[in-house]
């Protein structure tokens, strides 16, 4: 078991993501200009809005979960979301979790996702293609998506056992999203393939959100209603290719609020409720993020990439 105890040999392994994060923030935190994000409150569902080109959003998310047949847990992950172009966003995740009851804290893996906007202009519905590679072990509990026959009991396996099973997964999503009169509506269809010769699994996520007001204020303010976006999302599994449907699947409904500060910070919170007996009864999810708008220029200068 890997613990967060400085005297264990695993300390450097576990602290890696956080040590890097500290270095990262020290290197970039004070230099590039920040810009206000306009993030929807979704934690699981994706919309068609991509990161602005050259901007980097550093995000920390956390989920507290209750489990009926095992101790509760706190899973957390860091995301680095970069706008490579106006039609391509790439994102890198580092996942970890703590399970109460003395099971300890451990790094559970990484993910690399890419989102592509195939169409040039806005349409009635805007598709985005999502492709992700995951290298996570069975102890991963970030519940960033629910797929196949994922149920609450799967997360009750003790960390010492679950962490030994390493998964290499390819995850594809078709994101269909619509911005209409200030509302955002989104639907994600999820296709997941464990590369260890397991069947394709399926899932879904739905979301709707809206700012508290439609017009911007004529003065800069942190608490103006335009900076708050409220929303709901629902997500769950749809079985696999051998057993498609709702049988032995879990489903969740969450109500969230995002607060996009003009300084570039965004806070999100979402209490989430399981909708059937196979789901965790309650999850509390929250996140904090900061957007660096001139990240590409800063990196270019570090690599002496100034070109005339």
């Amino acid at each position: 078991m890997v613990m967060f105890i400085p005297t264990t040999p695993s300390f450097s392994v576990i602290c890696g993501p956080f040590r890097f994060l500290l270095l990262f923030l020290a290197a970039f935190g004070l230099t590039p200009r920040a810009t206000q994000a306009q993030e929807n409150p979704y934690i699981v569902a994706y919309d068609s809005n991509l990161e602005e080109p050259g901007s980097l959003e550093v995000e920390y998310f956390s989920t507290f979960g209750t489990q009926r047949s095992a101790p509760g847990f706190h899973s957390f992950w860091t995301e680095f979301e970069y706008g490579a172009t106006a039609w391509w966003t790439t994102e890198f995740y580092l996942d970890a979790q703590t399970t109460w009851g003395g099971e300890g804290t451990l790094f559970t893996g990484f993910r690399w996702e890419n989102r592509f906007r195939p169409l040039k202009n806005e349409h009635f519905i805007n598709p985005v293609i999502y492709i992700e590679y995951e290298n996570v072990n069975d102890a991963d509990k970030i519940l960033k998506e629910v797929e196949g026959h994922d149920v609450e009991a799967d997360y009750a396996v003790p960390n010492a056992i679950a962490r030994k099973e390493q998964n290499h997964e390819l995850e594809l999503k078709l994101i269909l999203s619509k911005n209409y009169k200030g509302w955002n509506f989104t639907e994600n269809t999820l296709f997941v393939k464990n590369l260890a010769n397991e069947p394709w699994e399926f899932g879904y996520a739905l979301g709707a959100s809206r700012p508290l007001t439609m017009k911007g204020a004529s003065h800069r303010c942190n608490f103006c209603p335009q900076h708050f976006i409220a929303g709901v999302e629902m997500y769950g599994g749809l079985g696999d290719v051998h057993s498609f449907g709702l049988h032995d699947t879990s489903h969740y409904l969450g109500a969230g609020l995002a607060w996009n500060l003009p300084s570039g910070w965004t806070f999100r919170a979402e209490p989430t409720f399981g909708l059937n007996d196979q789901s965790h009864q309650f999850l509390f999810r929250w996140g904090i993020s900061y957007e660096f708008s001139e990240f590409a220029e800063t990196v270019a200068s570090l690599f002496k990439g100034h070109r005339e």
Binding site: N49, P53, A84, A86, F92, L106, E122, S218, A296, E297
Partner: protein, 147 residues
């Protein structure tokens, strides 16, 4: 196994950082010109649109706040132009119809780095149009048409 996974993770992250510096191509005048040319591609339906905020005296100020929050990092302070995006005080923009500017805001020019801003509610996009058209003494701008 854990150490190996983390090394792979770091490797991907650092390669991504290096690519990040190269992914942003330099912006030159020709690219700016081609972005301006996109304004003429706005469909007639948009070209004829009225700015519903045209009579709102607070719209340019509100648009200015939105501009500082979302656009200034690329288009520069007071829309004078920046490394990544052109000046919005150029005649190509200032002589465009409000609807054409609204259309560009809503659709972006995603192949030329201008993101889609449909995530902003329509009234906020129109406030941005009011601000942009007020930059060069926009009092002469009519509700629907050119100066």
């Amino acid at each position: 196994m854990k150490v190996h996974s983390l090394r792979v993770a770091y490797g991907i992250l650092f390669v991504s950082l290096a690519l990040a510096s190269g992914a942003q191509n330099k912006n030159d005048g020709k690219e700016h010109e081609s972005v301006y040319a996109e304004l003429d591609k706005a469909p007639a339906k948009y070209q004829q649109m009225r700015n519903p905020m045209a009579h709102d005296p607070e719209a340019p100020a509100a648009g200015g706040v939105l501009f500082a929050e979302h656009c200034e990092s690329c288009h520069g302070k007071e829309a004078m132009g920046g490394k990544k995006a052109p000046s919005l005080r150029a005649p190509e923009v200032q002589n465009s119809t409000p609807g054409a500017i609204f259309w560009i805001l809503s659709n972006g020019v995603v192949r030329k780095k201008m993101p889609v801003w449909s995530k902003l509610p329509e009234p906020e996009r129109w406030q941005l149009v009011s601000y942009i058209q007020s930059l060069n003494g926009g009092s002469k701008v009519s509700e629907t048409g050119k100066k």
